[in-house]
């Protein structure tokens, strides 16, 4: 799973969001290391929609973003299961890296 795909799924775990909100969430979670451009974001969303990991949540106005209607997306049960599996995989990778002292110990 690409980092962009995982970041989009993670952004949707807590709540349904529109595209810009997903983009901001991905940037904040990754401390700025992941920046999703519009093309990457919607290309990823298109693939996730086609795979059934994400579904559309209708259009409505986000009061914090003005009065433009925005399309919302939410993660499906399948998407949650896939995100969990990927998170566990990444956790195993990080643990293995710690055992080999590639990265420091887990913060207390």
């Amino acid at each position: 799973m690409s980092p962009a795909t995982f970041q989009v799924l993670m952004a949707l775990v807590d709540d349904e969001r529109h595209g810009y909100s997903i983009m901001r969430e991905a940037t904040e979670r990754s401390d700025g290391s992941v920046r999703l451009g519009p093309g990457t974001l919607y290309g990823t969303l298109k693939r996730l929609l086609e795979s059934g990991l994400v579904e559309e949540g209708g259009e409505r106005v986000d009061p914090a973003m003005g009065d433009e209607r925005r399309r919302y997306y939410r993660i499906t049960d399948l998407g949650m299961a896939v995100a969990r599996a990927e998170a566990r995989r990444l956790d195993r990778v990080v643990r293995a890296a710690r055992r080999r002292k590639l990265i420091g110990p887990e913060p207390a």
């Binding site: 595209g19 920046r35 451009g37 519009p38 974001l41 919607y42 290309g43 298109k46 973003m65 399309r71």
Partner: protein, 204 residues
């Protein structure tokens, strides 16, 4: 602000034309919204912002086109449905022609002092024609799911026409060619259609 933003948005919309038409139709509005939001957040955006935009468009558009090139053309085999129906109609028409031809040949045989062979020839001809008509109707109504049945019917029809040729050597060349040639053409069509469908399923 609005006057300054408009040219930038026009440039971005022009950049979006590198994406596949279907993707643009679905997401152009939202991508433009996000572009506007990001420019607002970055207070207009400088060269770094535009480099990011260009890099994102180049990378994601290339990926879209690569996906589109890899995707099978007939995901649901829907465009093939029209071809299948035309073949089915042709099978029915050829079957009807064969019924007509069998009765004409039988009549000609009787007029020339017909015997049991004439009667057998007509009966076999009508059976061959019925097989073809039923295969055509099944293909028309049930599409690919009737293909197995259609194959059996085509083989049966060709075999019967060969038998007719044995009992009625005076059978016309036209009737022989039609009676054997069309079932072979139908078998080829079903084989080639199945091969395309199998390769598409493997790709998917």
């Amino acid at each position: 602000m609005i006057a300054r933003e408009r040219p930038a948005e026009l440039v971005f919309r022009a950049l979006l034309r590198v994406y596949p038409a279907g993707f643009r139709a679905d997401y152009e509005r939202e991508m433009t919204q996000i572009f506007r939001d990001r420019r607002r957040e970055e207070h207009g955006g400088g060269s770094g912002f535009w480099i990011e935009v260009l890099w994102d468009v180049a990378r994601s558009a290339a990926a879209m086109h690569a996906d589109a090139a890899r995707a099978p053309r007939n995901v649901n085999n829907q465009p093939r449905k029209g071809t299948m129906r035309r073949m089915a109609i042709l099978a029915v028409l050829v079957g009807l022609i064969e019924v007509l031809n069998a009765s004409l040949e039988g009549r000609a045989g009787r007029m020339n002092g017909g015997d049991a062979y004439s009667f057998i020839g007509v009966a076999l001809g009508v059976c061959a024609a019925i097989l073809l008509i039923v295969a055509g109707v099944a293909l028309f109504r049930r599409g690919w799911s009737a293909a197995g049945w259609a194959r059996v019917a085509a083989i049966g029809c060709a075999a019967l026409v060969v038998s007719i040729r044995v009992v009625q050597p005076w059978m016309s060349i036209f009737a022989t060619l039609l009676g054997i040639g069309f079932p072979i053409a139908l078998l080829l069509f079903l084989y080639l259609t199945k091969r395309d469908g199998s390769s598409m399923r493997t790709t998917a």
